[in-house]
Symmetry: C2
Subunit: 338 residues, 2 copies
């Protein structure tokens, strides 16, 4: 038995699809010959802009719906072979609205999996996060799958976010155990690239630095800039999503991280350089009232398991990825294939 779902000719639904990752994955699946790609979104975080470049593709369909309304999902997933579960609140919106965040990240995932079960969807790919390893000084060294969740002393919204991703993964495992639903969990690092938004705490280092440099202002680094962050380029991640469907693997959770981690100071300097140069960064003290995802030690989120189980490794380093982000921001993005 294989849990592989080929892309060619098949129908895929991307739940939370009008987004950074959703639009890139839609393009990836369409390029690979998908019969139809459905973008399901309630446009709470998603936007028309994020998918404008794809709207002319006749194999793309947009469905307005809400993960909190099971009937919306039951209908959208009819005839689908694969479902990508992206819809989620991240830490910043979880802080603003823990009520809505827990709805979407817990019940929304249950609804999506239930709709997969009813519609006999062959495979679900669940967008988890390296937040399942948590925060603080316990998160250090090589981060590999199976490591525990560190939450002591972390901001409540960050703890809640990470715990909802653990629950989402366990719900996938529960649906496989009880109903035979095949799935792959991808634990995304912070995603960046074309159609970058301002909703991810760590990606703010990229997009806010770019904004400041373009305005001639000094970019900002919190603390001394030695903190590790690990990103993944959105095109690499879109390919990981596709390969998770195509892989024989099921019932697994793997990291999806870029080639290497960076420190926040390295990152701010890199974005400044790529944006054409600018003033030296300003080191600002940490604001205890702001939700931040600090870690004490250096870490490297390993993607060995993703290579072993779904055949994926990242290709795009941060310099190239940021170059593409800036090209998109400047309106110089290459046109998508049809």
């Amino acid at each position: 038995m294989t849990a592989a779902v080929p892309i060619q000719g098949n129908r895929f639904v991307i739940i939370g699809g009008a987004s950074l990752v959703g639009s890139a994955t839609a393009a990836e699946l369409l390029d690979a010959g998908a019969g139809e790609v459905v973008l399901f979104d309630n446009f709470a975080f998603g936007s028309e802009e994020a998918i404008a470049h794809l709207r002319d593709n006749p194999r793309l369909r947009l469905v307005r719906g809400d993960v909190m309304r099971l009937p919306d999902l039951l209908q959208a997933l009819e005839g689908a072979q694969g479902a990508l579960l992206l819809a989620a609140h991240m830490t910043l919106s979880m802080d603003r609205d823990p009520w809505g965040g827990l709805d979407v990240n817990v019940r929304g995932v249950q609804n999506a999996l239930e709709a997969c079960r009813v519609n006999k969807v062959r495979k679900a790919v669940f967008a988890s996060s390296n937040a399942v390893y948590g925060y603080g000084p316990g998160v250090k060294g090589d981060l590999v799958e199976g490591m525990p969740f560190h939450s002591a002393g972390s901001p409540p919204a960050a703890v809640i976010y990470g715990a909802t991703k653990i629950i989402g993964e366990a719900l996938c495992a529960d649906y496989r155990k009880k109903h035979g639903l095949d799935y792959v969990v991808l634990r995304y690092c912070t995603v960046y690239g074309e159609r970058q938004h301002y909703r991810a705490t760590n990606a703010l280092y990229i997009i806010e630095t770019l904004d400041k440099v373009r305005r001639g202002e000094r970019p900002q680094v919190l603390g001394d800039g030695s903190e590790t962050k690990h990103f993944v380029y959105v095109g690499d991640l879109a390919r990981a999503n596709r390969m998770a469907f195509e892989a024989a693997a099921t019932g697994v959770a793997v990291n999806a991280s870029g080639p290497a981690p960076v420190t926040t100071l390295e990152l701010v300097r890199l974005v400044t350089k790529m944006a054409g140069g600018g003033p030296e960064p300003e080191f600002i003290p940490e604001d205890p009232g702001r939700v931040r995802l600090t870690t004490g030690g250096a870490f490297d989120i390993r993607h060995d398991a993703a290579e072993r189980l779904i055949g994926w490794t990242p290709r795009v380093g941060m310099e190239e990825g940021i170059r593409r982000l800036i090209a998109w921001r400047d309106g110089n993005e290459p046109k998508p294939a049809r």
Copy 2:
């Protein structure tokens, strides 16, 4: 500033009160002079039997309500100085009904905290669990607060249960941060004692062994019986709940564990002896289909922090606690004070 809430003359609401822990805590608070103790329960798991021995107390009030109905809680918590948040699905019912379990353990806690906020309740005590340390071979040695959550390879329902307790704790922290609500989290070990039920995986070792010995059957031990379990006697836990209200502490999470851990084989032998003796236990192989909470190594859930922060230590060892459980089961329980 102290977050102490004296018991004398004050009103307390026990959410999920018609239960093992709820009834014992109600008795403890009434004995300490509480003006009124309200038991709020929907009787999904709670029972009239669990509170029958308290029903004559004029300071006890029973309110039928559901934690999923915020208006029920808003009304029940009017005029309360303290709220004890007990209502929860445990692992076995989370396995049977993850929909209802996530409702109660996530939204139910949010509703309870929201009702505390609206009613200006002075302190909430949240019943968390040593499940926040997780399961498997990573859980070993002295378990102290701040340790991470281990979930790799564990049954989905157990992972979901533990993660909901982490979320419940974080929701308390969020309400304190945003709304100033004082709280103490108690991380309960497996509770046993008078009014023991069959809903807690680990406590089955006590109550099922007692049942089997009384029927003249051989008690059962899963595996080789070397697995560590750590229990707490319900009367000790009721006192911990009371002391959590009375303590100046707020914004803390502490373990509430009995004097010492036991192995499952020691426990089965002890219950057999206390029940008057019986046949040797039968060692049965582990059933991978059954939800079990296995750990690889020996551990000891430390209660040093509870002693330091709320002045509590457990008093009742397992021999005495099981003696009391058996006395209750045999109808020889001492009458409660009025």
